[in-house]
Symmetry: C2
Subunit: 69 residues, 2 copies
Amino acid sequence: MAIIIRLDRILADRKMQLNELARQVNISNVNLSNLKTGKVKAIRFSTLEAICKTLNCQPGDILEYVPDD
Amino acid sequence: MAIIIRLDRILADRKMQLNELARQVNISNVNLSNLKTGKVKAIRFSTLEAICKTLNCQPGDILEYVPDD
DNA sequence: AGATAATTAATGATTATCATTAAAAAGATA
DNA sequence: TATCTTTTTAATGATAATCATTAATTATCT
């Protein structure tokens, strides 16, 4: 485990729910859930871009590197 | 254009060159160059992790969302 | 219980990394 | 200018992983 996607906080801040974000970002809620729960090993910039655009934030607000030593 | 990878600054800060980073991160310098010059449409977390680990930084130090409106 | 939201699972098509090789371009040094 | 190093570009092919879709399950709430 190392790179994690933090969507909980920012969704809470925006008072937005996952399904709504998925709708706005135009990806399936299944996919967004997988993203949110760390089931994904890569991300397309088009997806990251759409998320940042919708949430009006930067990649750094979402992606975190957690050293495991 | 929207998500860009900024490696120039951080490499300059570390006084490290691309080939050396590629060696430490264990990806080809060709690949790292492609990453650095925006020729890439996605990134694997394993790669992002290795870069962050080597450069001792966070994804937000490297990835930037630039709105194009 | 019933409704809504989120997660898990499985499948398949599509997309794109990544290594590799080779060549060209850019920088640096003398 | 000539030479060496570094970076970029190009092309190919194998491998990996997203992403949509469907269906089912679990969680959350009133």
